[in-house]
């Protein structure tokens, strides 16, 4: 035996093969036809995947097989997702299947209905689970293909309706092997990131197979687990996916999702303008009302009492003045009458008048003689009559 050649054991080579294969193919998607399908009493599934050129053994453990929404049969076309494993005791390799998806419309339709029933039974589609979308999102998370028409459509609508938002795109593949895992992962990561107000997950229209990622349980569960409201936006109008049922809101198309998620800027501007108008009106009305109030207060009885009092006083004074005037006139008149009658009486008793009645005044020098004894014989006197004086001598 040549010493240069290194000899290794069967176990060693098998271990190296195992490491090599398992590291090289930790996760693959293999499409093929099922044959030799056996369900062991343990619940594990054993079958062969084959096509025209080759075949490969496959196992699916009970825990994973329990999640299957269809019963695999010989001749069924499927896509198996899993890793390659090597089983040293038998020197064989196989696919350790994690997920099995039927290919072909009939099977897909069946799987769709089964998953729908299962999730509905769990309550994942309940109306009560649906959360309202934010009225005015500032940041929108979008999970879709970076190169798809869906992104462009949403971008166009958002730019037109409400361009003041920020869009955070998490690019994913939206069809083909692994798409559902990427979508689910993106949903999880956006929830870790947290800083978005709403998430749109979707893609443009396509065949049932194209849209299949949105019918996968892993996507449905990621949507259900999202703490941020999720809007599904898959395909055209008529395509309903499982994602649509779980989402907080289903939009028929990506464009429609964008419409539903943001308000219309022009409508909002109108609302704001109306608010301004209402405020202005309300304030103007208030000022007018207050002005009226002030006016009515100014003319109120209470406030006008002083002025009224003054007016009353003025009137009173006028009246008083007037009455004083009359009183005075009356008194004057009366006094004038008194004076007149006194004058008359005075005139009546004046010496002249007395003389007229036949009396005479006797004077001795300047003094009036009022008694006979004042006179002696030979006294010279003057007697005054009404019509003149006579000089006389007492005998």
């Amino acid at each position: 035996m040549p010493t240069e050649k290194q000899v290794i054991s069967v176990t060693d080579i098998t271990r190296q093969i195992k490491m090599s294969l398992e590291q090289r193919f930790p996760r693959v998607w293999i499409q093929g036809e099922i044959s030799n399908f056996k369900q062991h009493t343990s619940g594990h599934l054993y079958f062969t995947l084959k096509d025209e050129g080759a075949q490969i053994s496959a196992t699916m453990w009970r825990s994973r097989a329990a999640g299957l929404l269809f019963t695999p049969e010989d001749g069924m076309k499927v896509i198996a997702r899993g890793g390659i494993t090597v089983y040293p005791p038998r020197g064989s390799y196989q696919v350790d299947v994690e997920q099995l998806t039927p290919v072909g419309i009939g099977e897909l339709q069946l799987a769709f209905e089964r998953l729908k029933q299962k999730l509905a039974a769990e309550g994942l589609f309940d109306e009560g689970r649906k959360r309202p979308l934010p009225s005015f999102p500032e940041r929108i998370g979008i999970i879709t293909s970076e190169t798809g028409a869906a992104l462009q459509d949403m971008r166009t609508v958002l730019s037109r309706r409400f361009p003041c938002v920020t869009v955070l795109l998490m690019p994913v593949r939206v069809q083909g092997a692994g798409a559902s895992d990427e979508i689910a992962q993106a949903l999880k990561e956006l929830n870790q990131y947290r800083n978005v107000d709403v998430i749109i997950v979707g893609r443009g229209g396509g065949s049932l197979e194209d849209l299949w990622a949105f019918n996968e349980e892993v996507v449905a569960r990621a949507i259900a687990a999202s703490e941020i409201p999720v809007v599904s936006a898959v395909g055209h109008e008529i395509d309903f996916t499982i994602a649509d049922f779980v989402a907080d809101l289903r939009a028929p198309t990506p464009s429609a999702a964008a419409e539903l998620v943001v308000p219309d800027r022009l409508e909002l501007l109108e609302v704001i303008r109306n608010n301004e108008y209402t405020m202005r009106q309300a304030l103007a009305q208030m000022i007018t009302a207050k002005r009226e109030r002030v006016r009515s207060l100014v003319s109120s009885y209470a406030l006008n009492r002083p002025r009224d009092l003054i007016r009353e006083f003025v009137q009173r004074i006028d009246e008083l003045q007037r009455s004083i005037g009359t009183n005075f006139a009356h008194r004057y008149e009366r006094m004038a009458q008194d004076v007149e009658s006194l004058g008359k009486r005075l005139i009546a008793v004046s010496p002249g008048n007395i003389l007229k009645r036949g009396y005479a005044i006797v004077r001795k020098g300047d003094a009036i003689v009022t008694h006979a004894k004042e006179l002696r014989p030979k006294d010279e006197t003057v007697i005054e009559f009404q019509d003149g004086k006579v000089e006389t001598q007492v005998k």
Binding site: E146, S159, T166, L168, E189, L268, I272, N275, E276, M279
Partner: protein, 79 residues
């Protein structure tokens, strides 16, 4: 995040406050001084809101989680 609070200074917050102001002005229960204060605040808010709405360019960024677990936000080269 259904219970997420409306952030002060956010568009939603401003608009909500604006609506409150309009309502209380319409009610007419505030004193004139208060009403004038509310009116001034309201006009200010409506200006801010209108200003925000005037932004014309949609900001679009790419978000990716790096291997280290941090999030990276990069500009999206498109169009």
């Amino acid at each position: 995040m259904g219970t997420k609070k409306v952030q002060r200074g956010s568009f939603e917050h401003s608009l909500k406050r604006l609506e409150e102001i309009v309502e209380s002005l319409e009610e007419g229960k505030a004193s004139l001084d208060e009403a004038v204060g509310l009116y001034e605040e309201g006009i200010q808010l409506s200006k801010e809101c209108a200003e925000k709405l005037k932004a014309t360019e949609l900001k679009i960024r790419k978000l990716a989680k790096s291997a280290g677990g941090d999030f990276e936000v990069t500009d999206l080269d498109q169009e």
